[in-house]
Amino acid sequence: MSTVICVENLSKKYIIGHQKQERYTALRDVLTDGAKRFTHKLIHPFAAPSNDPTHEEFWALKDVSFDIQQGDRVGIIGRNGAGKSTLLKILSRITEPTSGKVSIKGRVASLLEVGTGFHPELSGRENIFLNGAILGMSKAEIKSKFDEIVAFAEVEKFLDTPVKRYSSGMYVRLAFAVAAHLEPEILIVDEVLAVGDAQFQKKCLGKMEEAGKEGRTVLFVSHNLSAISQLCSTAILLEQGRVRLTGDVRKIIDLHLSNDVVDRSDVNDISGCTNRHGNMEARFESIDIQDQNKLGRTTFSIGENINICFKVSISEKIIGQTVKLAVQLRTSDGINLCNMTDVDSHFQLSRTSESEVVTVKLSDVRWYPGIYYISLWAGSVDSKETYDAIADCGKFEIIGGGQLTSRHLPRNVGLVFLTPEWQRDNHT
């Protein structure tokens, strides 16, 4: 084993403009800004040069250091904006670091996008050559792999058709096929598996696994944690441009998940929600989704516990009466998954104070990866009156890659993940 990538104190700074909407500067703006500053100088000759508040430094990466050994398959994990893409861009030499050093041994191919440089007017055949050259293959290399690429992409019949007439699936397959036949010592891959249908994704993952088995080093960035846990042995967790942790992929994915307290307001206030009906004798005020440690979170892996907490206020009119509650879950494709009522779990709620907080604990959740929506209902014991009913007032996501399985679980093959007992019955 030898170190093939050595990253030392790598940092990358961007200057971000706050007010400007454009991504690029216009000469017009540079000139008018200069003129403004100049007149400002004339009018207030002794004023200190003001720090431009519209520009701010942003460290996309800060003192990142790690080593990668030959043959490692490394996943890079982190939230949006954690610096994953910047890291890959530096490693693939698209952009320069602000400071720090990277040493790379061996030929690198980076795949930050499939189909870079594809031209819609050119035929599939022409695009294979063009794209191969862009990715760094020589003409001879492309020629020798041409048939393999075409077979992998399954586009034999359409080789001489301009790719603008391809279906999006064919386009993506062709683009990935070219990239998959690169044979570098180090392969850097970004989120490209988010394309194509499930079957093709599987094929791509297989191809990348193969690359790893052949002793190539693979660096892989993806939001698809199940793909990462399937493909990679180690992982690097990035947080706000710094390396939080490196090590075994399972541990890091778990840490990443338990850290996921992102982009959610503390408790989801639904008191102002208008998408509801009922006579409002009881009224849902807020909903919160938590993990088993009572920490708010919206992403779970299979096998975890999910707590659905909600606050319901009960008017004095129905004092002494029992309020019947129900929680319904549906999948993102509209299938009603379950309708859970308090009665079935032998729970009863009646008014003791103005508002009550109820927690519904789901343990060992076994649904396939996807987004699930929560609807709440409250009504009278005989179900004749609806006090309050709100559809889709909360959601959570189940993702792959937990403790139970690292298998890719496409939603179209199942809904419930079961691990029944399997046994062999020998006929004698």
């Binding site: 216009a26 000469l27 061996g106 063009l130």
Partner: protein
């Protein structure tokens, strides 16, 4: 992993391998040029017809305006040939220059996703213009046969002047390509430069009509030297080259090319960040 080169990425480090990399990526350079040429002639139904028609029509109009209406002297050469000998380098320059200027922005996707020496892109844009140039040469040959005009041995020096035209187009193209990435409104200036350049370059007339005392000043426009050189090589006979002016143009072309490369190289690292 014994005899493998270790690639080191560091701030300001990319310089060292640049020219070697450029050589390694020569195939990409040809592929990009090939793509652009292919697309150019695939997209327009009248592809080649357009490449031939545009200079031909320009030549006709210029001959009409400058020879028939303005009655400018041609120095004993058929006026259409006089015009066309200048139109060749001028059209090559203008389309190479505007093509190269636009090239980086129109290939933004590639620049932000893949590494390669960025110089490849404007260079291949210049090659595309050169293919048009070669097609136009056919017209020149046709014209010469039509007028029974035989060139002399000076014709052999033409590649030299083509090379100067290349350098001029590449130098200005690099400047504009790099500036265009940084200041996106630079593209507005390009058509103006092309149009303005046509008036201040001796395309429709011979530069011999410029008073002797102004000739050197006139040669500050580097295309004057290039065009005069083309005429000198193609028309032969009693065409004379104004050497001080030509040397000045040559020097300026060299200066633009060198500074163009330096500026391009300096800004190249940030292209992916701002494009």
């Amino acid at each position: 992993m014994l005899n493998q080169n270790v690639l080191v990425i560091e701030a300001g480090r990319s310089e060292r391998h640049y020219w070697r990399d450029l050589w390694r990526y020569r195939e990409l350079f040809f592929f990009l040029a090939w793509r652009d040429i292919l697309v150019r002639y695939k997209q327009t139904v009248i592809g080649i017809l357009w490449a031939l028609g545009r200079p031909l029509l320009t030549m006709l109009v210029f001959t009409l305006v400058f020879s028939k209406l303005a009655k400018l002297p041609s120095g004993g050469v058929p006026y259409p040939i006089l015009v066309f000998a200048a139109l060749l380098p001028w059209q090559f320059f203008s389309s190479a220059f505007s093509g190269a200027g636009e090239s980086l922005v129109s290939n933004a996707g590639m620049i932000s996703k893949v590494y390669f020496p960025r110089l490849v892109i404007p260079a291949s844009a210049v090659i595309v213009a050169f293919v048009d140039f070669l097609i136009s040469v056919i017209i020149l040959v046709g014209l010469m046969i039509w007028y029974g005009f035989a060139p002399n041995l000076r014709m052999l020096t033409l590649p030299l002047f083509i090379f100067v035209a290349f350098a001029a187009a590449m130098g200005t193209g690099l400047w504009f390509a790099a500036l265009n990435v940084k200041y996106r409104d630079f593209r507005i200036i390009v058509p103006f430069v092309v149009q303005f350049g046509l008036y201040i370059s001796p395309v429709g007339f011979s530069s011999s009509i410029v008073p002797e005392k102004w000739r050197l000043l006139y040669s500050i426009n580097p295309m004057v030297g290039v065009i005069d050189g083309f005429r000198w090589a193609i028309l032969g006979g009693n065409t004379r080259l104004y050497w001080p002016g030509f040397m000045l143009s040559l020097f300026l072309v060299g200066l633009i090319l060198v500074t163009g490369i330096i500026y391009f190289r300096k800004t190249e690292k940030t292209f992916a960040d701002v494009i």
